[in-house]
């Protein structure tokens, strides 16, 4: 292991500071570790001021500032991490921390949650944030006519009311120990209300570190420092923060190499090694919860047989996909959606490519003369078609006949995903196990993309949700990961890292992995060196 690799592991949080130092000592680079400064950014106090320009890989003319329909990293960074705040925050090291709520507590059955709000927080418009704003912001996603993608997340809310100006009490229909974690969801940014229960979701007003100066959907956004920000000097180091939509990978890379931008989202994995060699450019890899999946509809033959599912799970060479599709920027998946970045990730034996086992299960399922259609399009993720074709070859070695069906990108999510029995897909992942399982694995939920139902799993899910005992929860979630791995309808071949690039003129502390771009909070966490 070289010092550089150690640095990378440390920077991406795969090892902690102690292991880093131990590793550096082992390879005789302790001197280097103490002199390079990096990766000990905390040593240098963040400097103030400057203008940061960031080139985004997503963004469309149909973007709005309404959190209910956020669907690109552009409006997530702008509308969630830059202009606004939420009740709670996932800290860079993955813990739950306070934001607009100072503290919170649950009833013993985790059904009633009381959030104590921070006092004296101002919106950009000068209005003071109170419980009325929080309640209106949450209700914005609820109710009959809600168009919000966060609606299922809040379905368990029975009642939400204020207790004075700075206390919000939420009553759930069933206990949920992760409810404060839900409040970090990017849809649930706190918006100013008009006092009658409606929110101003479109002007961009919020409590966040920067206020909106100009916004041209699909083109750019300009923000400037909000002087009365409640986090003050700890965060919010820049004078102004500018975002540009550069969806063309080559245009984005050119802008990075010519110094038109300071930070580039989504580096092109095919050329990132060249970018890395450029003086003054640093490549940043963060392994988060984002994963690629291959869901099979478990109520459709031949996928209704678990032997078919196991055969396919053994017939995929994950290491090969990692090397060829992600060029090593990621980690192999173990057929369940819980990432190492999640709190209750369990240490379960990694499933490996095993044509013999695949053959065994294929024979049991009677797959000898069956052609299995796999629907693929790059809408699922960049490289999905390549991955499908590679899988076809892997499976052929086990005598399984996979036929890759090329689907159009357009309309992929409405016409292919959850409609075709076996397809390529991706999930951004969720900060909590419960959220991930409830969204895509629980029986009967709208996005259970395999129609999978497992009684033991569903019971455990309900049991763990209301538990406040950490150790017991860890046990239950470990068992659930095992069940999904061995019985679930999804192959999870890869966890994909976020790979970005930036100039060495930017500095940062530990980078959050709950979302891309430092948990979408790059604007308030990074500074100009």
């Amino acid at each position: 292991m070289t010092f550089k690799e150690l640095q990378r592991l440390y920077a991406t949080k795969r090892i902690n500071r102690r292991d880093f130092l131990a590793g550096a000592a082992a390879i005789g680079a302790l001197g280097a570790a103490s002199t390079v400064g990096l990766p000990f950014p905390a040593m240098a106090a963040p400097s103030k001021g400057g203008h940061m320009r960031i080139g985004m890989g997503t963004g469309s003319t149909s973007d709005t500032l309404d959190p209910a329909t956020f669907d690109t990293t552009f409006n997530q960074v702008l509308g969630y991490g830059t202009l606004r705040n939420s009740l709670t925050e996932v800290t860079p090291d993955g813990q739950l921390g306070p934001e607009l709520a100072e503290s919170w507590e649950a009833s013993p059955d985790a059904k009633v949650w009381t959030f104590k709000l921070r006092e004296g927080v101002e919106f950009h418009s000068g209005k003071t944030m109170t419980a009325a704003d929080v309640i209106a912001s949450i209700n914005h996603h609820r109710g009959e006519n809600s168009q919000s993608a966060a609606k299922p997340l809040l379905a368990a809310i029975e009642d939400i009311k204020a207790d004075g100006d700075y206390t919000v009490v939420v009553t759930l229909s069933a206990g949920n120990a992760d409810f404060p974690f839900y409040m970090t969801d990017y849809h649930l940014a706190i918006l100013p209300s008009d006092g009658e229960g409606n929110v101003d979701a479109t002007s961009g007003d919020g409590t966040g570190p920067y206020k909106l100066e100009a916004f041209e959907p699909g083109v750019s956004a300009m923000t400037s420092r909000f002087e009365n920000y409640f986090k003050g000097d700890d965060r919010q180091h820049l004078d102004s923060f500018e975002m540009l939509v550069l969806t063309d990978t080559a245009a984005r890379t050119n802008a990075m190499t010519t110094g038109e931008i300071d930070y580039m989202e989504r580096a092109d994995l095919k050329t990132v090694h060249l970018l890395k060699n450029r003086p003054g450019v640093e490549v940043l890899e963060v392994t988060g919860t984002q994963h690629y999946t291959m869901p099979m509809l478990t109520d459709v033959d031949p996928f209704s047989s678990n032997d078919t599912r196991l055969a396919l799970k053994y017939a995929i060479d994950r290491e090969d996909l990692l090397a060829k599709v992600l060029r090593g920027y990621g980690a192999v998946g173990n057929d369940h959606p819980i990432a190492t970045a999640n709190r209750y990730h369990a240490d379960i034996e990694q499933r490996a490519y095993d044509p013999d086992k695949a053959k065994f299960h294929a024979k049991k399922a009677g797959l000898e003369n069956v052609e299995i259609n796999l629907s693929a399009a790059d809408a699922a993720f960049a490289g999905a078609v390549d991955a499908a074709v590679l899988f076809k070859e892997h499976a052929a070695a086990a005598g399984i006949n996979v036929n890759v069906v090329r689907e159009p990108n357009d309309g992929y999510w409405s016409d292919v995903w959850m409609k075709k029995p076996f397809c390529m897909c991706y999930w951004g992942g969720r900060p909590t196990e419960d959220q991930m399982f409830t969204t895509a694995y629980a029986e009967g939920v709208p996005w259970n993309d395999t129609n999978w139902s497992n009684e033991r799993f569903n019971n455990l899910l309900t049991e763990a949700r209301a538990l406040l005992d950490e150790a017991r929860r860890a046990e239950i979630y470990a068992e659930m990961q095992q069940i999904v791995r061995d019985d679930g309808g999804t192959i999870v071949p890869l966890f994909a890292s976020y790979v970005d690039a930036h100039t060495d003129g930017l500095a940062h502390d530990t980078v959050g992995a709950n979302y891309a771009l430092d948990g979408f909070k790059i604007a308030e966490r990074w500074w100009k060196a």
Binding site: S60, S62, Q147, A214, L244, W413, S414
Partner: protein, 318 residues
């Protein structure tokens, strides 16, 4: 002269009819695409409930024919509606994009048209010389490479290797006219490269075609120098085909530049059009398509008018 006015009137009336047909075709085409606005907006995170809520809210649950006539009725009253996605007024959304697109098209035309005509005339003058062959090969090579390739080559040499021009066109309110010219130089040159060959070769062909005419031979026998023969005697008579080709290329500069817009991250109409089709944002798609259709109709009309004006036999018919 009144013949021309009649023609313009007729053509404009026909143009309106064309526009109406275009709106129907576009509407039908977008309807035929899989999925609708609500599904496209929510993508992977769509549920039946939220999709239905959006449809009801925007009136997308009505039958397609009814929606078309509601839209048409509004347009006839001068209301192009609002974008389904951003709820912004169409005029507010499309207006700046049209300006950007026209600016780039005009800029590229100002470079491309004079150069193409000059090179074409010179190529006719020195027909079959090394110069003629060189210009032809160069122009054909430029038009044969895809726009994005030409653009990347230019960016590589003039933005990455030598930091002479910016690699992206980053506009904001403070951008002045000269800044704009500077930022858009590479896009304009890219467009020049891909449109020039057509105009240049048509100029050359039209002039050479005329060089065999008896009146040119007469002029040559009178001892007039070759250059003067071409500019004074051949060119005026070759104008009509040249004008037509120039008009087609100008129309292309307005409607066909989406690739260049993407490469240089320039917020033009093409980018808006593509985004809106992806999101099935019908009012924006329709408005953009109308702008494109109007461009073609007006360009063709002006080409015809100019052709008539340049030809006395058509201008004064017996």
């Amino acid at each position: 002269m009144s013949a021309i006015l009649t023609m313009i009137g007729q053509r404009l009336a026909l143009g309106l009819l064309t526009l109406w047909v275009v709106t129907m075709i576009i509407f039908l085409a977008v309807e035929l695409l899989p999925g609708d606005f609500a599904q496209a907006l929510l993508g992977q995170s769509a549920t039946d409930e939220t999709v239905n809520a959006i449809r009801q809210n925007l009136g997308l649950d009505k039958p397609a024919v009814e929606r078309y006539f509601i839209w048409l009725g509004d347009v006839l009253q001068g209301d192009f509606g609002r974008s389904l996605a951003s709820e912004r007024q169409i005029s507010e959304l499309v207006g700046p994009r049209v300006y950007n697109t026209l600016f780039l098209a005009a800029y590229a035309a100002c470079i491309a048209v004079p150069i193409a005509l000059t090179l074409g005339i010179l190529a006719a003058l020195y027909r079959n010389s090394a110069y003629d062959r060189g210009v032809n090969v160069g122009a054909l090579a430029a038009i044969s490479s895809p726009e994005f390739f030409a653009a990347y080559i230019l960016v590589y040499f003039f933005a990455v290797q030598n930091a002479w021009f910016p690699s992206i066109a980053r506009l904001n309110e403070t951008t002045t006219f000269t800044d704009r010219l500077y930022m858009l130089f590479l896009p304009a040159v890219t467009l020049t490269l891909v449109t020039m060959a057509h105009m240049m070769r048509m100029t050359r062909a039209a002039i050479i075609n005329l060089m065999a005419s008896p009146y040119i031979e007469m002029a040559r026998l009178k001892g007039i120098p070759r250059g003067r023969i071409i500019v004074r005697h051949a060119l005026p008579n070759a104008l009509s085909p040249i004008i037509n080709v120039v008009a087609i290329n100008l129309a292309y500069l307005i409607v066909g530049v989406v690739v260049v817009e993407v490469v240089f991250a320039y917020p033009g109409l093409g980018q808006l059009f593509v985004d809106s089709v992806v999101k099935r944002d019908m009012p924006v798609v329709q408005a953009s398509a109308l702008v494109f259709a109007v461009t073609y109709i007006l360009m063709n009309l002006s080409a015809d008018i100019l052709s008539i004006l340049s030809n006395p036999r058509l201008l004064h018919p017996r």
